[in-house]
């Protein structure tokens, strides 16, 4: 059960982070969504043995984290929780792909290790960027941005309901499970107990939806949730989008680390 409680605590923390006023939170959510999508596209467009050429892309998540003052500890914890899957999916590569690649003069490595490294790096890049944007934007602004970018309203509206009532229903579920434990229930419940426990939670969910709907009707709801604040696109947002996309294109087109290395060492090929 602690799993449900810690997940809720996690969501609440993300909400708290997003409520702060930071350089990142002041940007229009549309700017952050569009730029992050461009970033993802650029990162995943590389061939699978790419490691070094991906390094310049670290700049984007690092900049987001700094602008959004996202705590590194929080980020590291979330990365660590999500990492096993990436490791699991990548770990077969060194076994299956043993073709040697020469990574530096006279040094060869199995291609599988390089692609494994690439998978981990991609994972870190994409996950960090997404988490930083979320922590620096918040669910509500993200939904407003998504809606403004053409996502169907029904979807964004019920996404907001999900977000809102995950706290309420999650709290109810956690309390029910605690009550079961308090009365001596140990380990995972049997299917029969589960059916009744989760079933009651489901019933409450239905009843809750009914009451919410009534409360909405009582305040004149007619099927449409009207936005009360318009998004404002400023020149800062344009600079953010154009600047970063230009950087991604440049980093994709030019092998920046090698260029830098040649500049610094005066050596070349």
């Amino acid at each position: 059960m602690s799993r449900l409680e810690s997940a809720l605590a996690d969501l609440r923390l993300a909400d708290t982070l997003a409520a702060r006023d930071t350089g990142l939170s002041r940007l229009d959510p549309r700017a952050k969504i569009v730029t992050t999508l461009a970033f993802l596209a650029a990162v995943v467009s590389y061939e699978r043995h790419t490691v070094v050429a991906l390094l310049p892309f670290l700049l984007y998540p690092v900049a987001l984290v700094s602008m959004g003052e996202v705590p590194w500890r929080w980020l590291a914890r979330k990365l660590a929780l999500a990492a096993p899957f990436a490791v699991l999916m990548g770990i077969a590569n060194p076994v299956l792909d043993r073709a040697p690649l020469e990574v530096a003069h006279g040094v060869t490595m199995a291609g599988g290790w390089i692609s494994f490294g690439s998978i981990l790096l991609r994972f870190a890049l994409t996950v960090t960027a997404a988490l930083a944007v979320v922590a620096g934007t918040g669910m509500h602004a993200l939904c407003a941005g998504l809606a403004a970018l053409g996502t169907p309203r029904v979807f964004t509206a019920q996404l907001l309901f999900l977000w809102r009532y995950a706290f309420v229903l999650g709290g109810e579920g956690a309390r029910m499970a605690t009550a079961r434990e308090a009365r001596g229930g140990r380990g995972s419940p049997t299917l029969a107990v589960y059916g009744s426990l989760a079933g009651h939670l489901l019933l409450r969910a239905f009843e809750r939806a009914e009451r919410i709907h009534r409360a909405m009707l009582a305040r004149g709801f007619d099927g449409e949730i009207r936005p009360s604040r318009a998004l404002r696109w400023s020149s800062r947002d344009t600079v953010f989008v154009v600047g970063w996309v230009a950087f991604f294109v440049a980093a994709r087109a030019v092998y920046l680390p090698l260029l830098l290395g040649r500049l610094l060492t005066g050596l070349g090929g």
Binding site: H140, Y165, I212, R214, A218, R219, F221, D222, A230
Partner: protein
């Protein structure tokens, strides 16, 4: 405030599963009156309030506001006239921030965004919750949620307020603030509650419900002295009288 008489005439209702919740309830509330509805659990108080707000349709009987009968056809008028503060504030608060939630009703009535924002600010000021305006409503305390829910209703400018167990779960200070607030209102107030001390402070009249019917109607001072009635309806004399 343009006020009308509110009237329930022979209201009956059974939920889809067959439970009879109302069984011929009738009463009349004068403009500006503050009336309590008391009764044991399951007596039908919440059902009665829902019906008066046009959120449930009676099987028999009628609710009238002034000359208007509450029906699906008079929905818009009913929504503007009657404000409903729900028992569980979590049912009512779902917008991203407190101020957006309070503006939800006015926006639904077609009030322009700026004006809705200022109505919301005023309503928050009335309930003493201006400092919460930017917070997301779901991380507030129970008392704060209740205040914000009340603001969301006041912002729509209703002339009749229906409140379902407004003091449940409030700490004594928050309860006292709510009492002060409701005493100062000029709206017609109909309050379903188990808190008889609250009734003594806020309401000049009390209706007692039992089994979906109104079984007593009078001044709290008189009704609450009728020990057999109170016992039959799962009630007890106000604490301040039990000395």
């Amino acid at each position: 405030m343009n006020q009308q008489v509110v009237e329930a005439i022979g209201l009956s209702y059974a939920y889809p599963d067959g439970t009879t919740a109302l069984d011929g309830a009738s009463f009349r509330v004068a403009p500006g009156e503050s009336v309590a509805i008391v009764g044991g659990n399951g007596a039908g108080k919440s059902t009665l309030l829902l019906m008066m707000a046009g959120l449930l349709e009676a099987n028999a009987g009628e609710v009238r506001i002034g000359d208007v009968s509450v029906t699906p056809g008079s929905r818009d008028f009913v929504r503007r006239t009657i404000g409903f503060v729900f028992q569980d504030a979590d049912d009512q608060l779902f917008m991203p921030t407190v101020k957006e939630d309070v503006a939800f009703g006015p926006l639904n009535f077609g009030v322009p965004a700026e004006e809705a924002a200022s109505l919301a600010a005023t309503a928050l000021d009335v309930v003493g919750a201006s400092h919460l305006a930017e917070r997301p409503p779901y991380h507030l305390s129970g008392g704060e949620k209740r205040a914000v829910a009340l603001a969301g209703v006041i912002a729509m400018g209703p002339s009749v307020l229906l409140l379902d167990e407004p003091t449940a779960g409030l700490d004594p200070a928050a309860r006292r603030r709510l009492i002060k607030l409701l005493q100062a209102f000029e709206h017609t107030r109909i309050v379903a509650t188990h808190d008889l001390d609250f009734v003594l402070d806020v309401c000049a009249r009390v209706l007692v419900m039992e089994g979906g019917r109104i079984v007593a109607d009078g001044a709290p001072d008189a009704v609450f002295r009728d020990e057999p009635l109170l016992a039959r309806c799962h009630l007890e004399a106000p604490l301040r009288w039990q000395g």
